[in-house]
């Protein structure tokens, strides 16, 4: 599907440093896996970069504070994905200097071993920043029986409207190259491919210039198409190989990391800077000053909106992009490591859709990047025939939303499929006696 088909244009603007909020609400769970455990208590004074949550278990990472201040509470708070997550609330105060943030280019990291790099990932709280928030150290600890050949760098925006990766490559190209080299070392492989979309010529030119004299890093440009940035689709475009159904890129020797994650890796390893802020595309027809902002993790959406301004009454606040983002019921949700975008739509842009009967136009099937037949999957899910639906690829759906977006009958296709998947997970849990 071309984003134009549903009237979406992309835009891109330089990264701006955001403002300082008065309060930070830093959730202790911002990643897939077990939540971090609070290591601060109300009354504690913290400074920039301090660990406030310690990884609990293997699939977990540390959480840091981006700003100095005083812990005023450790309490449950809403996040983009859940109602109640243990959260450290910090009243921002004290001084810190932005100078400490200036990035350096040194080769000192080259003396680090693979294991040291991987433990740095966990310590500095690195997760996949394309949206999945899977702890990076787990992904890079490749099981011995898998042979990795290629690091695939995802520089394709994961969704229309979002442009953070584009700007990141343009403005932090060197950091990205260093990040790639560190990642290659961590994986013990020597081949990287950076995948771009054709509508990012400036970023492509920048990166081509930077890797011109490196034979192990290749820049590839793919046609503009959503979901080009989805992991399986990108792997296919870059290598011609399909990740087997139910499998991971690992199974065909590929590790995929998003460009933002690798810049964070560089900052963690070279600059010793934990992941406590990120670039967020703030946009939508209700936003007065849309753009790419570097935002401290824990900043609430309400504070972001106060800063970027609103020119229309918001009807939907979406964390993520228009195709897969999560609509929020509260503007109190904080920006986390996985927040790639904040999309604020007015009622005009965010219609309510009415799930009419299928007219069998076949468009959903034509656009499905996974080769599914959404119209049939959905009728099976609606009839409760989950096993039948599974046979037809229910669990292969990547929830890209293309099917719903093109359906002239406004059917809730990806939504129903998601429901079927949730039911499957619930049943499995039940069976496991959870």
């Amino acid at each position: 599907m071309h984003p134009r088909d549903i009237g979406l244009d992309t835009m891109s603007s330089p990264i701006r440093n955001a403002f300082l909020p008065h309060y930070l609400y830093i959730p202790l769970q911002q990643h897939i896996g077990s939540p971090a455990e609070a290591v601060v208590a109300p009354g504690d004074v913290v400074s920039r970069g301090d660990v406030i949550g310690k990884a609990s278990g293997y699939v977990s990472v540390n959480i840091h504070t981006p700003l100095p201040g005083k812990v005023i509470a450790v309490q449950d708070h809403v996040t983009a994905t859940a109602d109640r997550v243990p959260t450290v609330v910090i009243e921002v105060e004290g001084r810190f200097s932005l100078k400490g943030q200036v990035s350096r280019q040194t080769d000192a990291w080259k003396s680090l071993s693979r294991d040291e790099i991987i433990s740095r990932m966990k310590e500095h709280g690195l997760v996949g920043m394309g949206g999945a928030t899977f702890p990076m150290h787990v992904k890079y600890s490749v099981p011995a029986d898998k042979k990795i050949t290629t690091l695939l760098v995802n520089a394709v925006e994961c969704e229309p409207f979002l442009s953070a990766d584009n700007r990141l490559v343009i403005e932090h190209g060197e950091d990205l190259v260093t990040g790639i080299e560190i990642a290659l070392k961590a994986l013990g492989v020597n081949r990287a491919i950076i995948g771009f979309e054709a509508d990012m010529p400036e970023a492509v030119a920048r990166m081509r210039g930077l890797v011109a004299n490196r034979s192990n890093i290749e820049v590839l440009v793919f046609p503009v198409k959503y979901p080009q940035g989805a992991e399986k689709q990108l792997v296919k475009a870059a290598t011609g190989l399909e990740v087997p159904s139910g499998g991971l890129p690992l199974d065909i020797g590929v590790v995929v990391s998003n460009a933002g994650s690798l810049v964070a890796l560089k900052e963690a390893v070279v600059d010793n800077k934990p992941l406590f802020e990120r670039i967020v595309t703030v946009t939508g027809d209700a936003v007065e000053k849309p753009g790419n902002y570097k935002i401290a993790i824990g900043t609430r959406v309400a504070d972001v909106l106060a800063e970027v301004g609103l020119k229309k009454k918001p009807a939907r606040i979406i964390i993520g992009g228009p195709m897969m983002g999560l609509a929020q019921y509260s503007d109190q949700v904080p920006v986390t490591k996985g927040t790639s975008g904040i999309l604020v739509l007015s009622a005009r842009r965010a219609a309510v859709y009415r799930h009419r009967p299928c007219v069998r136009c076949g468009k959903c099937m034509t656009v499905c990047p996974m080769g599914l037949v959404p119209l049939l999957l959905v009728s099976r899910v609606e009839l409760g025939m989950d096993d039948e639906a599974k046979k037809h690829g229910l669990l292969d759906c990547i929830e890209c939303g293309c099917c719903s977006a093109v359906c002239p009958s406004e059917r809730h296709l990806s939504q129903a499929i998601k429901l079927g998947k949730l039911r499957h997970v619930a049943k499995k849990r039940e069976a496991a006696g959870d």
């Binding site: 918001p314 009807a315 609509a327 509260s330 009419r356 929830e399």
Partner: protein, 350 residues
């Protein structure tokens, strides 16, 4: 800064932005593209054409309204599908002079289309047969003379009267077997079949919506550009009809020794409602395959059947019978073209 409350925020599952090409818009756009062809028929054959059209549309819309009210289904008149069905029914009525075609014919056809072909099977999206064609075929058999006898001459042009071009072609070839158009024989001595140019421009007798290939082609191309109608069905249908009529058409002509590859493909393409069928009937979303491959097979089947029926049986009904017969096979075709699921070898390429 604009003030808002949490209550202003609507929560919904992604995707949050969708196509503007929704069913009602689609139906109204398709309807609009039919208007030039109907208007042309009105100009050539006189205002009765427009009366018939209005009757068909009105009957379709009223039937839709009555049924949704009776069955307490959600009101669907505004989605435009009943209006379009009525319009298509009208396109399938013979264009006649003032008062020749009784109005109960289009009215009954529309009622049949909406009530039986569409709603008896569960409403929009559930019907297996193209409703407008079902209506046409129903009244065709119910009122044969009215549907076939009254082909009009045009007051505006010197249009050949009383027989449709395809029938003339067949008469010329001496193959008239059915007595249906016996009355038309009178014309034979006087007139030759209309020229290709007449067919293209619509200066020929025929059904309201099928007489002008030019107007239909234009409407069809607009629909393809808007991606409302796929290109594969019209192209395959028209190309295969041309091909098969070229190969086999000569067998049915007796002015010469029966031989292959001597048919008149252009004639078959421009006449007998092929344009209407290819762009507006065989592309109906609901009653045709959803996959690319399936559509090709479907359209190929339509082309073969159309030529077969035209050369051996009823001329005027070739297109409508062919499409309806292929409608029946859609579930079978569909099963042949399951897309291959990503990362598996299951299914076939779509």
């Amino acid at each position: 800064m604009i003030k808002y409350a949490s209550d202003d925020l609507v929560v919904s599952a992604a995707p949050h932005v969708r196509t503007r090409l929704r069913v009602p818009l689609v139906m109204w756009v398709v309807s609009a593209t039919l208007l030039p062809a109907i208007a042309w028929a009105g100009y050539v054959f006189g205002p009765w054409v427009l009366v018939v059209t209005a009757a068909a549309v009105l009957a379709a819309v009223v039937t839709e309204l009555a049924i949704t009210l009776l069955l307490r289904r959600p009101q669907t008149v505004s989605d435009g599908s009943a209006f379009l069905t009525g319009l298509l029914v009208a396109c399938n009525m013979p264009a006649t002079g003032w008062g020749v075609l009784p109005l109960y014919v289009p009215v009954v056809a529309s009622i049949f289309a909406i009530a039986v072909a569409k709603h008896a099977f569960g409403g929009l999206g559930q019907n297996w047969i193209n409703p407008a064609l079902a209506g046409r075929i129903f009244v065709f058999f119910a009122w044969l003379p009215a549907m076939t006898g009254g082909w009009a001459g045009s007051p505006a042009f010197d249009v050949v009267s009383s027989a449709t071009p395809l029938n003339l072609l067949k008469f010329q070839s001496g193959m008239m077997q059915d007595g249906l158009q016996a009355g038309s024989q009178a014309v034979l001595g006087m007139r030759l079949a209309p020229s290709h140019g007449d067919l293209f421009l619509g200066l020929t007798p025929g059904c309201i919506g099928e007489i002008s290939a030019a107007a239909l082609l234009l409407g069809g191309l607009i629909l393809i550009l808007l991606r409302i109608v796929n290109w594969e069905i019209p192209l395959t249908y028209i190309a295969s009809t041309a091909l098969f009529s070229w190969i086999f058409g000569g067998l049915a002509m007796t002015g010469q020794a029966p031989s292959f590859f001597t048919g008149d493909p252009l004639y078959h393409v421009l006449s007998g409602g092929l344009m209407l069928g290819a762009f507006y009937m065989a592309t109906d979303w609901v009653t045709t395959p959803v996959s690319f491959g399936g559509r090709i097979v479907f359209a190929l089947g339509c082309g073969i059947l159309t030529v077969l029926i035209r050369l051996t049986g009823s001329n005027v009904e070739g297109v409508s019978f062919a499409i309806v017969l292929m409608n029946i096979t859609v579930p079978l075709i569909e099963r042949m073209f399951v897309p291959r699921r990503f990362g598996t070898s299951e299914g076939r390429a779509a």
